[in-house]
């Protein structure tokens, strides 16, 4: 672990630079401990780094020492982030699976194999970023490895489920992006009216479930008429 100053009001704590569950747990462990420190103004946990914003009541030196002390005392095995397992229904059919053909070509798998492989794994939310509520989920089974699109789309619709390298993720809002889109979920993953506006937080576990287009439409209808029990997800 290495602590470096990041401008005059933040520190960057770098762990071994690798996408790895154990290293990410170290990030999340420190993230959790620093939530209790009042001089800390914001935290950005990422795959293998933690950005720590601080106010005027502390300094680069004092906060660095505090972080050194916290990490020397604790083990990432103590990690209890109060995380949950979230099941996300996804329709992998047209018109939602925009890049299914490209992904079958790139991976050599059939559409059904792609769906089964994507649904069999339980993924970890390594971090949030890019846009509000976008969760980086990993790791995909190697067979699903697929590079980003050569030309990013100007707009990917909210709910779209994509692949990029060994990562998968869901667009929480309409946004530009180059991930390979293999389906869409009718569940909103960003809900500004909720006290906690994002469905996912770092450390959560996510599993996908394949649904038909009629099931998709049914849930979508319930969500837009506010009769869908979102509490089950956001509670």
């Amino acid at each position: 672990m290495k602590i470096v100053p990041f401008g005059d009001s933040a520190l960057l704590v770098n762990f071994e630079q690798k996408i790895d569950e154990v290293i990410n747990n170290q990030v999340l462990s420190l993230y959790k401990q620093l939530q209790e420190v009042k001089e800390v103004t914001f935290l950005i946990p990422a795959y293998c780094s933690l950005t720590v914003g601080f106010g005027e009541q502390t300094s680069i030196k004092a906060l660095s020492e505090q972080i050194e002390e916290l990490t020397s005392k604790s083990q990432s095995t103590d990690l209890d982030l109060n995380t949950k397992l979230i099941e996300i229904p996804v329709c992998y059919e047209a018109p939602y699976a925009l890049d299914m053909n490209e992904v079958t070509e790139k991976t050599g798998l059939t559409q059904q194999e792609i769906i089964d492989t994507h649904c069999q794994e339980t993924y970890k939310v390594y971090m949030l970023g890019f846009v509000a509520g976008f969760a980086y989920l990993g790791s995909l089974p190697e067979q699903l490895f697929c590079p980003r699109k050569a030309e990013p789309r100007k707009e990917v619709l909210a709910g779209s489920v994509g692949l990029a390298g060994l990562q998968t993720g869901i667009y929480p809002a309409n946004a530009p992006g180059g991930w390979q889109i293999i389906g869409r979920t009718p569940i909103p993953t960003f809900n500004p009216k909720a006290e906690k506006p994002t469905l996912f937080k770092a450390g959560d576990a996510v599993k996908f479930k394949s649904i038909s287009s009629s099931e998709f439409e049914e849930i979508e209808k319930q969500v837009s008429s506010n009769t869908f029990n979102l509490e089950e997800y956001y509670g």
């Binding site: 990041f6 401008g7 103004t41 914001f42 990422a46 950005t51 500004p192 506006p197």
Partner: protein
């Protein structure tokens, strides 16, 4: 109570405070005033808490008709503010009467002016901040992006005595002095020639610059693409170098993570100053070290 009726919205007029800190772990940008020092001074002049909302006015100002009395102050860029057609002083408490009309003419110096109004603003906040949220604005902060014909209500605060900030204590609007920057996390990944190019040249602020980031036109000469950084935090003031060698200075509405190498971070006071640079202005960087 005072009521502001926006007869014109201006080029880009938003409501900002000091931002939405503490939710960056959810991927939510900080937002807030681009030039925080000027926003705070405006609030001080009308007796508000320094984290109160202000109007951030960009280059071409709005036209505002006041109903009822209130006190205002304008700081930051000089955008030729007038009350009923008469130029008014900046950095000074101003008493507004019922029926007064605030308008702006040509921008003279700087890019963003801050208008504070004494009292409590009757607008919706989201996650502890009134600042316009760049994502899902309609659902999160619908009042904070000013539109034509919008009405803003202020529950007037206690009347303040008129004060003014002397010239010597006002933030500099100079675009001559270099911006002080600290070495960024990937500073050592850049070659000596690339660093020399970064610190030895002037860069032009591109027309596609906005509250998310200032894109600088000139790429570092002979830039060789660096190994991709595993997605990691970025903050306002972070200077990234894109694969084509082009620097981007991240600003208040920047996303929270990125994968480009981070060559430097602008010091907080100079990030406020940079917010007053306009597209087409040129900027130089000067390396400073951590104390």
């Amino acid at each position: 109570m005072a009521r502001l009726h926006f007869l014109k919205s201006g080029l880009q007029t938003t409501i900002q405070d000091l931002g939405r800190q503490g939710v960056q772990d959810l991927g939510i940008p900080i937002n807030g005033a681009m030039d925080k020092a000027s926003a705070q001074l405006a609030n001080q002049l009308v007796g508000n808490d320094t984290n109160s909302p202000v109007l951030e006015i960009t280059l071409l100002g709005p036209k505002i008709q006041f109903e009822g009395q209130c006190q205002i102050a304008i700081t930051g860029a000089n955008l030729s503010a007038e009350i009923n057609g008469n130029i008014i002083p900046q950095f000074r408490t101003i008493n507004i009467n019922h029926g007064d009309m605030l308008s702006f003419r040509k921008p003279v110096t700087g890019c963003r002016a801050y208008l504070a109004i004494n009292g409590r603003w009757d607008i919706q906040s989201w996650l502890g901040s009134y600042s316009a949220s760049a994502t899902n604005t309609v659902q999160t902060t619908p009042d904070s992006v000013i539109k034509k014909d919008q009405i803003l209500e202020i529950i007037s605060g206690k009347q303040q005595s008129v004060i003014s900030i002397p010239q010597s204590e006002r933030p500099s609007l100079s675009i001559e002095a270099p911006l002080k920057v600290y070495p960024g996390p990937e500073f050592e990944a850049f070659s000596a020639i690339e660093k020399q190019c970064f610190f030895g040249n002037r860069f032009t602020i591109g027309q596609d610059s906005n509250r998310m980031g200032y894109r600088l036109k000139e790429a570092l000469k002979g830039y060789t693409q660096k190994e991709e950084v595993i997605s990691s935090g970025v903050i306002p003031g972070t200077i990234q170098i894109t694969n084509s060698g082009q620097p981007i200075v991240l600003m208040a509405d920047a996303q929270t993570t990125g994968g480009y190498p981070r060559i430097a971070n602008v010091s907080s006071p100079d990030l406020d100053r940079l917010a007053q640079f306009k597209p087409g202005d040129t900027v130089r960087f000067e390396l400073i070290s951590f104390k």
